[in-house]
């Protein structure tokens, strides 16, 4: 854990962080608003003080109440991974600026997040489905997209913890069929 890194982040972006800087293992985590993504990531990428040149990962997350886009960055200036969580995207129409102007390689990762979560990345030139067929209409990795759970419907469902159905807590009643033996 790089304590100095945390203080530097707080000093530089303090007023624009929407949550405390958290550190665990070799990761440092900041939370920002979706509208600030382009600006803050540009600073992290271009500024010689930070030099986060490598986008290690871009992930969409559906927390059940809202959406997030999570960036993992690497730089020679810190031994930690920097995790930037763009928080608070609404689930009905999640929108966030694209980072393809900094990392062209983010294009497919953004397409994947669009395909799986329906997050619109504004500024991505090629935002279409990448895995699912073009006429597909659902977003499979959203938490309101349920998998058929054979084990839960079996007569033994619910007896052994490993075979218990994993229904999201906020699922509409009756959305997931549950059998108790």
């Amino acid at each position: 854990m790089d304590r100095l890194f945390r203080r530097r982040l707080e000093a530089r972006f303090g007023d624009r962080l929407t949550g405390p800087v958290r550190q665990r293992h070799d990761q440092t985590e900041i939370r920002i608003a979706a509208a600030d993504v382009a600006d803050i990531l540009r600073t992290l990428h271009d500024d010689p003080e930070w030099r986060f040149e490598l986008l290690a990962d871009l992930a969409g997350v559906d927390t059940g109440t809202h959406m997030q886009v999570v960036y993992h960055l690497w730089s020679v200036t810190s031994p930690d991974w920097l995790r930037v969580i763009a928080d608070g995207l609404c689930r009905d129409d999640p929108r966030i600026p694209s980072v393809t102007f900094l990392w062209k390689g983010a294009e497919w990762m953004e397409r994947e997040a669009y395909d799986m979560f329906g997050i619109t990345f504004e500024g991505n030139r090629d935002l279409r489905r990448i895995y699912m067929p073009p006429e597909y209409t659902s977003f499979p990795l959203r938490k309101d997209f349920f998998l058929a759970d054979d084990a839960a419907r079996s007569p033994g469902g619910g007896v052994r913890p490993m075979e218990r159905s994993h229904s999201p807590r906020d699922a509409a009643p009756g959305a997931v069929r549950q059998v108790r033996a």
Binding site: E53, D57, W108
Partner: protein, 411 residues
């Protein structure tokens, strides 16, 4: 001006109002975009210039390293642009993992990159260990590094063979499969499986080193360096191969970073980024090895760099064997794992680059979100950047030199 039938979506028919009939050429499959373009880039790609044509390559094509379809826009034999179409192997592994027990995840992620399964297992296992704050016994870490480096050699051997095969050379793949098969049989006696090992466990590994594995490994190590020099000599000193690969598909440092490249593809452009050194994990800080880099950034550099890595892997294996500590191979953990709510990111250096897992726990026995970052997916999109301007046959060479595995691309 040919568009094959495959360019049309499966539900399309001649009655579809979105399809314009091209009466002059006499068929509905001529000069037709697959469906109304949805993005700027798609509209640009599916507009033909003067004298240009589309050729569909795949999904069943021996050189695509799996089930990949590429739509090529050609001017004569020169590639103007290309559009890879993914999803033929998409299994929704992330969704399956989010509906599986923490232990069950390991067998779900195995078939991602089926030629280097141990690396696919490693990063989720490491992420879950971070969530659980569990310390892995040192012997288990050594066994992990030992088996994973063997797997890296097997993967690179396959790469060299495939690459030559894509260029039309049949011998190298037969030779490299001799080495690969020895390693795979060795790992089979350690893990019980030839390809989908299902060997790493949260907190350790599934089985200890056994006599059969050790004697096979000892045998192989005593002649490995000579054998590998012999095998790589077949290509390294091959005039046709070297002249074909040199200067082809050149990637420079800044473009590689902009394309999020990692692993050998990035190191071939001169950036010494290796997760084993940039973010040390497991017991790599205790082991002495170099990170080979090259500056040319062409197909030949990417090939030679991987062959250099094989030698470093042999050094690592040798040190592992000499430093192997005694002790347990599993941490003590309950059978049902319920990590406290939290987030973890674990990244490892595989044969193709950075394999990473971002896991979120909500306190139940199944991961709430599990993101798998696969280097093949990232590197495949560079084909669209490196190929235009080259010939159709070079598409294969460039794709092979980036070494994507479709199981990992499509997840």
């Amino acid at each position: 001006m040919t568009v094959t039938r495959n360019l049309l979506p499966p539900h399309a028919s001649a009655d579809d109002p979105r399809i314009t009939l091209d009466e002059e050429v006499g068929g509905i499959f001529e000069n037709v975009p697959p469906y109304p373009p949805r993005t700027e880039r798609e509209a640009e790609f599916y507009t033909l210039g003067d004298g240009e044509m589309f050729i569909n390559m795949g999904p069943q094509h021996p050189s695509t390293h799996g089930v990949l379809r590429v739509v090529l826009k050609l001017d004569g034999e020169k590639v103007v642009d290309l559009d890879p179409v993914l999803g033929y192997l998409h299994r929704g592994v992330e969704k399956l993992c989010e509906n599986a027990d923490y232990h069950q995840v390991i067998s779900q992620v195995d078939p991602l990159e089926y030629v280097s399964s141990l690396f696919c297992e490693w990063s989720p296992v490491m992420a879950f260990e971070q969530l659980l704050d569990v310390e892995v016994p040192r012997r288990a870490e050594y066994i992990r590094v030992l088996s994973a480096e063997l797997n890296r050699i097997a993967s690179h051997a396959l790469f060299a063979g495939w690459m030559a095969l894509d260029l039309g050379g049949l011998t190298p793949i037969l030779w490299s499969f001799i080495e690969r098969d020895e390693i795979v049989e060795m790992l089979a006696s350690l893990t019980g499986q030839r390809m989908l090992f299902n060997y790493f466990r949260i907190g350790g590994v599934n089985g200890d080193l056994n006599h059969d594995f050790m004697s096979r490994l000892g045998d192989w190590m005593s002649r490995a360096v000579k054998q590998i020099d012999n095998d790589t000599g077949l290509l390294n000193e091959n005039e046709i191969f070297v002249r074909r690969m040199r200067g082809l598909g050149v990637l420079d440092r800044d473009t590689a970073l902009r394309m999020c490249a990692t692993g050998p593809n990035l190191r071939a452009t001169g950036v010494p980024f290796d997760v084993r050194r940039a973010h040390p994990y497991s017991i790599y800080p205790e082991i002495d090895f170099d990170i080979p880099t090259r500056t040319e950034g062409d197909c030949l550099a990417r090939y030679l760099l991987r062959m250099d890595e094989v030698k470093q892997s042999l050094r690592i294996i040798d040190q592992c064997l000499h430093q192997m500590p005694d002790g347990p191979i599993m941490a003590k953990l309950p059978r049902l794992l319920r990590p406290r709510p939290g987030r973890a990111y674990a990244s490892i250096e595989g044969p193709r680059g950075q394999y990473a897992t971002y896991a979120i726990s909500d306190g139940t026995d199944q991961p709430f979100r599990m993101r798998i970052h696969d280097p093949s997916f990232i590197h495949l999109q560079m084909v669209g950047l490196l190929t235009p301007g080259n010939l159709v046959a070079d598409t294969m060479a460039i794709m092979a030199s980036l070494d994507p595995i479709m199981g990992g691309v499509d997840k």
